[in-house]
Each structure stands twice: as structure tokens, then as C-alpha cells.
């Protein structure tokens, strides 16, 4: 039973991990927690839905189309909105992302209504696979695999490519990055695009499990944010670890203690962790020299 619970926790954790990674990536480049992250994912998922249901496109085309849309949505948020703010401070920027969140939420509600739609993936939800004495639905297994592949791709991108180096440099010191020939504004915009794509993948994998409606990303987004804080917002590895930890703990608590309080426990854990370790479990606290 324990194995089964942990496995379910990992499935939930992989969705949290994607949301958390998306938030952490943009936070590291712009020092802003993008609260529109969830709604951007929700909106991109709707785009996949429209391409599937209204235009009858094959799933893979709709999937890729939705990710392309997500990328440009991310670019737009940075270039079209955030960059336009006049001498903003962090609080202003935070409110801008909140505004963008409300805008997308309203737009989705107006365009598609609040009814619950079904996003059909070509992967079965009912057929199961046996792994080491535990069972997992094909869809859940696919979710975990897709999340792991995405993490691997992100790792390779950051570690081995010129773009990855530019992203890290921009995150550490924007002025220094600029004078070494890195177009920092473009780089930050690209990180918003990448984050948005990661979020969209989470949305598409999640939609068949829950349902597709404008509220679908609110809870996963909060949990993902919480996981990111738990793991340490400025450490990508920490954020992923925090997400899996949160998914597993939540599931264990739900089974052994109370299902009713399952959602609350996540936030309780965060309060406790932050009380003892303010920069998160794996985060490094660093102060910028003036």
C-alpha cells in the first residue's frame, strides 16, 4: 500500500514539479514570481482543446501547436507587458502578473464558458501498467515520463548550450551579462516563453485527470508555487525535489490521517519548513552586495 501511495504522490508531484520549475525559472531571471503561470497554462491547454475538438487536428499536432502558442504567450507577457512598465519595482511587477492572470481567467471564461470540457489524450486512463507490485494508469505513467523528459531537456539546455549559459549569466548578474554581449532583455523574454511551455505541458497532462475548465490550474498552481518555496525558489533541483516531496507527503497524509485536510497539509508543511529554513530546503540564501 505504501508503495502505491508513494507512486501516486510521484504522479501528483510531477505536475507540481513542472509548475514549480516554470515559476522558478522566470523568478530567477526577473525576480518576479509570475502568478499568471497557471492561467497561461490553462489558456494554452484550451488552445490544444480547440485544435483537437474544433479543427480535428491529430493529437501531436495540437500538442505542439499549443506549446508554440504557450511560448509566444510567454514572450508577449514579457515584451508586451512587463517590459512596458516604467521603472517598476518587484511589487509592481507582481501585480502586473496578477492582472494578467485575471485577464486570462476572464477571457477563458468568456470564450469557453465555465463548463467542464474533456480533453482527450491518445493515452488510456483506465488501462494500467504494473511496476514492482504497484499499478499505475497509462496516463499517469505518461505524465511522469513526460515530466522527467522535460526536466532532462531543461537540464541539457541550461548546462550545455549557449542559450543556457546566457540564461544563467543573466540570472546571476544582468549588468555583467550585458557587457559580455548577452542581450539580456531577449534572454529574459525567452525564459518567460520556456516557462510558459513547461506550464502548458503540465496543463495538457493534467486536463484529462481533472477536467478542462478555467479553474483547472488554480490548485496545481498554488501547490506548485508552494513546492517551489518548500524546495527553495532559486534552486531548480530544490524546486523539483520539493515538488515530489510535497506530492508524496500529501498523499500519505491523505491516506493515513485525513483526506479532508489533504490539501491543507501542503501549506502547513511549508509554514513549518520556512520557519526553520527561510530559503527553503535546498535553496541558498544569498544577499546581493551593494
Amino acid at each position: 500500500m505504501l508503495g502505491q501511495l508513494i507512486l501516486s504522490g510521484i504522479v501528483a508531484g510531477s505536475i507540481y514539479a513542472l509548475v514549480a520549475l516554470a515559476m522558478s525559472l522566470t523568478y530567477k531571471s526577473s525576480e518576479v514570481a509570475n502568478f499568471a503561470q497557471g492561467e497561461m497554462a490553462m489558456f494554452s491547454t484550451y488552445i490544444a482543446f480547440v485544435m483537437l475538438a474544433s479543427y480535428q487536428l491529430p493529437f501531436w499536432l495540437a500538442f505542439i501547436g499549443s506549446l508554440v502558442f504557450a511560448f509566444f504567450l510567454g514572450l508577449f507577457l514579457h515584451f508586451g507587458i512587463i517590459r512596458r512598465a516604467k521603472e517598476p519595482n518587484v511589487l509592481n511587477l507582481l501585480i502586473i502578473t496578477l492582472g494578467f492572470q485575471i485577464f486570462l481567467y476572464g477571457l477563458a471564461g468568456w470564450k469557453w464558458g465555465s463548463e467542464q470540457r474533456v480533453l482527450k489524450l491518445p493515452i488510456s486512463q483506465t488501462e494500467t501498467v504494473e511496476i514492482a507490485g504497484t499499478t499505475i494508469s497509462q496516463l499517469n505513467l505518461a505524465t511522469v515520463i513526460v515530466a522527467l523528459i522535460l526536466m532532462l531537456l531543461l537540464f541539457v539546455l541550461l548546462k550545455f548550450t549557449k542559450l543556457g549559459l546566457a540564461i544563467k549569466a543573466t540570472q546571476q548578474n544582468e549588468t555583467a551579462a550585458k557587457i559580455n554581449g548577452i542581450p539580456t532583455n531577449r534572454i529574459v523574454a525567452i525564459t518567460f516563453g520556456i516557462s510558459s511551455v513547461i506550464g502548458a505541458v503540465a496543463g495538457i497532462m493534467l486536463a484529462p485527470i481533472t477536467t478542462l475548465d478555467p479553474n483547472m490550474m488554480i490548485e496545481p498552481m498554488l501547490k506548485g508555487f508552494a513546492a517551489a518555496v518548500l524546495g527553495g525558489f532559486n534552486s531548480l533541483v530544490g524546486v523539483v525535489a520539493g515538488a515530489f516531496l510535497l506530492g508524496i507527503l500529501e498523499n500519505l497524509f491523505g491516506f493515513y490521517v485525513s483526506t479532508e485536510f489533504k490539501s491543507i497539509v501542503a501549506f502547513l508543511i511549508i509554514v513549518i519548513v520556512l520557519y526553520f529554513k527561510p530559503s527553503g530546503l535546498f535553496g541558498t540564501h544569498y544577499v546581493r552586495k551593494v
Binding site: V156, L157, F160, T161, K162, L163, L165, A166, K168, A169, Q172, N173, T175, A176, A177, K178, I179, N180, G181, I182, P183, T184, Y286, K289, V290
Partner: protein, 255 residues
């Protein structure tokens, strides 16, 4: 001799404050040109106007005969101008080696699509990487950064951090190098070493150097020409001898 860097009537205003006031100068190929002046004279602001961190309110900046006024810093970096900062702008969570490699960023080609060729030792990307490492090794040798190469820059003593920043600026292979108070915070021995290096760098890298510096001993030892700034205005430009004996300079420094 041709002017590598030319400023024509550069003025920078912050609201009502005129930080740099109508400064014109031309720096010749291979010259070491120093800018001196009391605190708040607008020296660093002038550097920021040259490398594009600030946009000059009036006037124009020319690099190798091409106007760069108002261009973004990363574009100016590509055109061959590099700099260091008074308060250090290092990538503090990277090692010395990584900082210097970032100076090579301009020349790197490794993108997502040619990653597979990294795995193959003779692939284009691997060759590219090797070439950049060699360049960085040369700089590490020149500046005696061997012991620090794999240490995080935030763990290094201040003096060494300044040298890492100088090394990173050199890694971009600039034609013009701006050094903002390179000797500040260095001990006597390190200062002597710096004078030595600046001359070496000029010779080995065929680079024109502009220096902001307070240390008069250093300035007079290495400069071909000096400009004295006060309240954003250029008081005098001339040889070290002319400048330190100029009555306005003496007045500005001694009050």
C-alpha cells in the same frame, strides 16, 4: 594614428543634475588614456555613456569610426569594447574559469541542434569549445589566476576578484578596454603587479586602454595622456606632467 574612440560633446543629465558636461576626447590606437577627478566628478557616468549602460543626453560616441551613441551594451560589446567596474560585476556563483568562459560567449556557437556533435570529440562544437578554453588558459596564465581557476569568485579575496574581472574583459578580445578604478582596494604589491600587467596587456592584446583611477602614482606611471574631470567638465587633457602641474587640477584636488 587614428582615433579608436571618440567622444563629441557628451553630456549626461539626471533630471536637473548635469553629471557629465560637454566632454569631448579622442583616444588613439594603442594609447593608455586615464581619467582622473574627485569623487562625483562624473568619471564612471562617462564610462557608462561610452559602453551603453547609459544613453548620453547630448553628444555622440564613436568607436573605430562608427557611431555607437545609444546602442545597447551587448551590441557595443560585440563591436569590441569591454570594461570592468568599480564595484565588481562578477558572476559570483560561477568559478573563475566559468567567468572567463562567459567572456567568450560572443564567439560561442553551441546551440541545441549541434549538441550531438559535442559528444563526438572531433565534432564542430567540441572543437569550438577547445578553442575557447585555450584562449581562456592564455589569460589565466598571463594574470596568474591558476590557483583560483576552479574557485567560486565570491570566495576570492577582493584583489583577486578584480583580476578575474579584468581577465573576463580580456576574454572578449576587445579593441578598447575601459578599466574603472582597477587599483582601488589593492595592496601595494598588487598595485605594482597591476602596472606591469596593464603594460603587458596593451602590448600582447593590441588593445587601447582607458582607465579611471585615483592613485596618482599608477596613473602617471602608465598613462600616455590624462584627462582631469571636475563637476562633469573636462578641465584639461594632456601628458601626465602637464596635467599634474595644471593649476586647476591642483586646486580641485587640494581645494
Amino acid at each position: 594614428m587614428s582615433a579608436v574612440l571618440e567622444l563629441k560633446g557628451v553630456t549626461k543629465k539626471f533630471g536637473g543634475l548635469v553629471a557629465v558636461d560637454d566632454v569631448s576626447l579622442d583616444v588613439q590606437q594603442g594609447e593608455i588614456f586615464s581619467i582622473i577627478g574627485p569623487n562625483g566628478a562624473g568619471k564612471s557616468t562617462l564610462f557608462n555613456c561610452i559602453n551603453g549602460l547609459y544613453r548620453a543626453t547630448e553628444g555622440s560616441v564613436w568607436l573605430n569610426g562608427e557611431e555607437i551613441t545609444g546602442a545597447k551594451p551587448h551590441i557595443i560589446a560585440k563591436k569590441g569594447l569591454s570594461r570592468t567596474f568599480q564595484n565588481l560585476e562578477l558572476f559570483s556563483k560561477m568559478t573563475t574559469m566559468e567567468n572567463l568562459m562567459l567572456g567568450r560567449h560572443l564567439y560561442m556557437k553551441t546551440n541545441f541542434w549541434n549538441l550531438p556533435s559535442m559528444l563526438w570529440r572531433k565534432g564542430a562544437a567540441a572543437k569550438d569549445e577547445t578553442k575557447h578554453r585555450q584562449k581562456v588558459e592564455e589569460i589565466i596564465d598571463l594574470l596568474d589566476l591558476q590557483p583560483e581557476r576552479n574557485r567560486y569568485t565570491s570566495h576570492l579575496p577582493y584583489g583577486r576578484q578584480k583580476i578575474v574581472e579584468l581577465g573576463r574583459a580580456l576574454a572578449t578580445e576587445p579593441s578598447v578596454l575601459l578599466l574603472d578604478e582597477p587599483a582601488a582596494g589593492l595592496n601595494h604589491e598588487e598595485k605594482e603587479e597591476l602596472i606591469f600587467w596593464i603594460n603587458d596587456i596593451k602590448r600582447l592584446f593590441d588593445v587601447t586602454i582607458l582607465i579611471i583611477e585615483h592613485n596618482m602614482q599608477l596613473v602617471t606611471a602608465i598613462s600616455d595622456r590624462i584627462m582631469a574631470l571636475n563637476f562633469g567638465k573636462s578641465m584639461v587633457i594632456g601628458s601626465p606632467d602637464q596635467v599634474i602641474k595644471h593649476p586647476d587640477v591642483i586646486k580641485a584636488y587640494l581645494g
